[in-house]
Amino acid sequence: MQSDNIKIVIATLGLETHWRGAVTVAQMLREFGIEVVYIGNAFPEEIIEVAIQEDVSIVGVSSLSGGHLALGNDLISLARKKSVKDKVVFIIGGVFTPNDYNELMNLGFDGIFGPGATGEEIYNFIRKAVTAKKV
């Protein structure tokens, strides 16, 4: 499958105990031909560091137990500080209230995916978003 050399780092955000969602997305994206770096549980500092080191075009984080707003904010702020926000696509998946979808969007996430998201939806979004950022 055509991957266009897309590389993503995927992490479970902070102390989140649930890893199934992140791993499932990692598996699906790998099958779509995307190069996946899965780092398990990590905080924004480590995620951004890996993103820079690995020269990824996309960062995906997973959060199900409520830490998404605070840590999501930390992640995006740090990305801005390190000047990677404009070059890298940021997506987040997990369990969020409809109101939090909007808040995450306002924080600066490019894509937000709930429990109903399919692999194809995520993949198609990534293809488009990565292309858009490159322009």
Partner: protein, 585 residues
């Protein structure tokens, strides 16, 4: 007890030549078989004959082939006394109590836990006021992961997904005015290490309220599979030490808190992470077997320990498989206790369980449909003979449940209990050709998997080697593929999906200021307490860890000195060292 033989071998040998109450004789079976062939060849179309056995796929399913119809042929060797018996009598297939729900209703035990202990205390009282008969406390992420609310890694996660507890002081606030000497309290501690810490705090809280430990009833989880396999996290202790802590907790609790269930083998979370009903059950039982072996080696009587072992199961979509699995688990546990351990008391033979309906099986699309799903799950759990029940709430796909959603879950249970007449008759589906056939098949499959684990060297080795990590990662992967290609149908998600956005529902809103409040309490606590005593108690705990003494009394000492959870956990991490769990994906 012959240590060279596996549990499966011992059960097979034990079961030989004891079948003197066959339900069907050979002549009857022959006649029915003949009629069956005639019927199948004349009344069933060629197309349906070709696919006489089909394999339905469902979320968290077991992929067992099903016949078009079941008959005595499928259970031809059924022996009433050996395979079913009467309720409250071996092999307990039909239920652990002779009168089941007539004599004792299942406990309505809804999970609660969010924000600070003060907030959850209100929710506990709300549920009790509305007829809940037990309490079930879930802790927030930092508490579960054993960091204090003021730790840098806890930022933004305090009070999320459960209640924050940092010290005995929080435990006191959590149970303020809750009659813990008169009701059973389930603490969803998950891991052996945080059981050692949080239960120590619970005991000290009771002590400060003047309630003797002998009066306390309830359960902790204390399950190494949760700590080492199911959990994602930053730091893990080695499986060997985790198992040892699990056994330390059991040994101490059984001795000093006699009415407390010292371990709840948690199949639920393993299942939700990615496992069939078979694996959920086999792993929990393999862990129970190894634990009992270890405690016997420590000098305890197997029956005395096993009396206080309980199980926690997931019930998902495959209705009859779930019912049959609960029945199979009861029968198999009896056989393990009898033939593997030759236990000497009846209570030890009972597979007592709590069921939580599957959260993973609920959808974020059209959330009200989840009320229907959860009601079927709950019904299966009750038909399967559970002792207590939590019904997952319809807003699971969005947040922790609102008060309104919790109430619907509570009502679901009360409707089953009081309106449907299901509780009037014990094991109402017993004797169904289909259910009995599934029960046999599931028991065999569970025992085969226990055998596989034992041949690997037992559950600790299976975890060490990464066998279990790999198994659930592969299951999750396979299941997701089936879901993506709609081989597993999920209404309104990949089947009859509506376009556009999902329905608006009220969702839970986290209270603000919890993190700040927790931080301030810790700050004050550290000023107030005698820090020298804290230091000494932690040093003693460290020595106990290294000298292989039981850790729990030392955790209690530290809790009495008002040490925080994070401080105690740090001792474990340093004394036991860290382990890197295998990553499979």
């Amino acid at each position: 007890m012959n240590q060279d033989k596996t549990t499966k071998q011992m059960i097979i040998e034990g079961l030989k030549s004891q079948r003197d109450t066959p339900v069907y004789n050979a002549d009857t079976i022959n006649k029915i078989s003949k009629e069956f062939e005639e019927w199948k060849n004349s009344a069933v179309s060629i197309e349906h004959r070709k696919h006489y056995d089909i394999t339905p796929h469902s979320l968290l399913g077991t992929d067992l082939p099903r016949r078009l119809v079941y008959s005595p042929i499928d259970i031809k060797s059924l022996d009433y006394g050996e395979d079913l018996g009467f309720p409250g009598k071996y092999p307990y297939t039909r239920g652990i109590h002779s009168t089941m729900y007539r004599g004792r209703k299942f406990t309505i035990r809804q999970l609660s836990g969010f924000a600070g202990p003060e907030d959850t205390n209100e929710r506990i009282k709300f549920l009790l006021d509305n007829g809940a008969t037990g309490v079930n406390i879930v802790f927030d992420i930092p508490t579960i992961q054993e960091y204090d609310s003021d730790s840098p890694v806890a930022r933004g996660q305090v009070g999320m997904g459960g209640v924050a507890v940092d010290s005995v002081n929080d435990m006191e606030l959590l149970f303020k005015d809750v009659p813990i000497d008169k009701m059973s309290v389930s603490l969803v501690t998950h891991y052996p290490t945080n059981t050692a810490i949080l239960f120590a705090m619970y005991l000290v809280m009771a002590e400060r309220r003047g309630i003797p430990w002998e009066k306390l009833r309830g359960s902790v989880q204390n399950d190494m599979v949760m700590e080492e396999v199911v959990r994602g996290g930053l730091e893990f202790i080695p499986p060997k030490e985790c198992f040892r802590t699990q056994c330390d907790n059991i040994s101490f609790i059984r001795t000093h808190v006699p009415k407390w269930n010292c371990i709840t083998l948690n199949g639920y979370n393993l299942r939700e992470a990615g496992a069939s009903a078979v694996t959920e059950t086999s792993v929990a039982m393999a862990n129970a077997i190894e634990t009992l072996k270890e405690l016997v080696e420590r000098g305890h009587s197997v029956g005395w320990i096993a009396e206080r072992i309980s199980f926690f199961w997931d019930v998902a979509n495959d209705f009859f498989v779930e019912i049959a699995r609960l029945r199979a688990a009861r029968r198999l546990w009896y056989r393990i206790m009898k033939y593997r351990f030759t236990a000497d008391n009846d209570k030890a033979m009972l597979m007592r369980c709590h069921v939580q309906t599957s959260g993973l099986s609920l959808t974020s699309e059209e959330p009200m449909n989840n009320i229907v799903r959860a009601a079927y799950h709950a019904l299966a759990a009750v038909l399967g003979g559970t002792q207590s029940l939590h019904v997952s709430s319809y807003d699971e796909g969005y947040s922790v449940p609102t008060e309104a959603a919790s109430l619907v879950s509570l009502r679901t249970q009360q409707i089953i209990q009081e309106e449907t007449a299901i509780s009037a008759v014990v094991d109402p589906i017993g004797g169904s050709f289909y259910v009995e056939s599934l029960t046999d098949e599931l028991e065999k499959k569970i025992l085969d998997e226990i055998d596989e684990i034992e041949k690997m060297g037992g559950i600790v080795e299976a975890i060490n080697k990464g066998w279990l990590h790999k198994k659930i990662a592969e299951y999750a992967h396979h299941e997701n593929r089936m879901k993506e290609k709609s081989a597993i149908k999920i209404v309104a998600h990949n089947y009859h999906k509506l376009g556009g956005n999902t329905a608006e529902i009220d969702v839970f809103r986290y209270r603000s200021g919890v993190e700040e409040r927790q931080r301030k309490k810790i700050e004050k606590l550290k000023q107030r307490r005698d820090n020298t005593t804290v230091k000494k108690s932690l040093q003693k705990l460290r020595e106990a860890c290294l000298k292989h003494e039981n850790v729990l009394p030392y955790c209690i000492e530290a809790s009495r000195a008002d040490a925080t959870e994070g401080e105690i956990a740090q001792v474990f991490r340093e004394a036991f060292g860290l382990w890197h769990p295998p990553m499979h994906w």
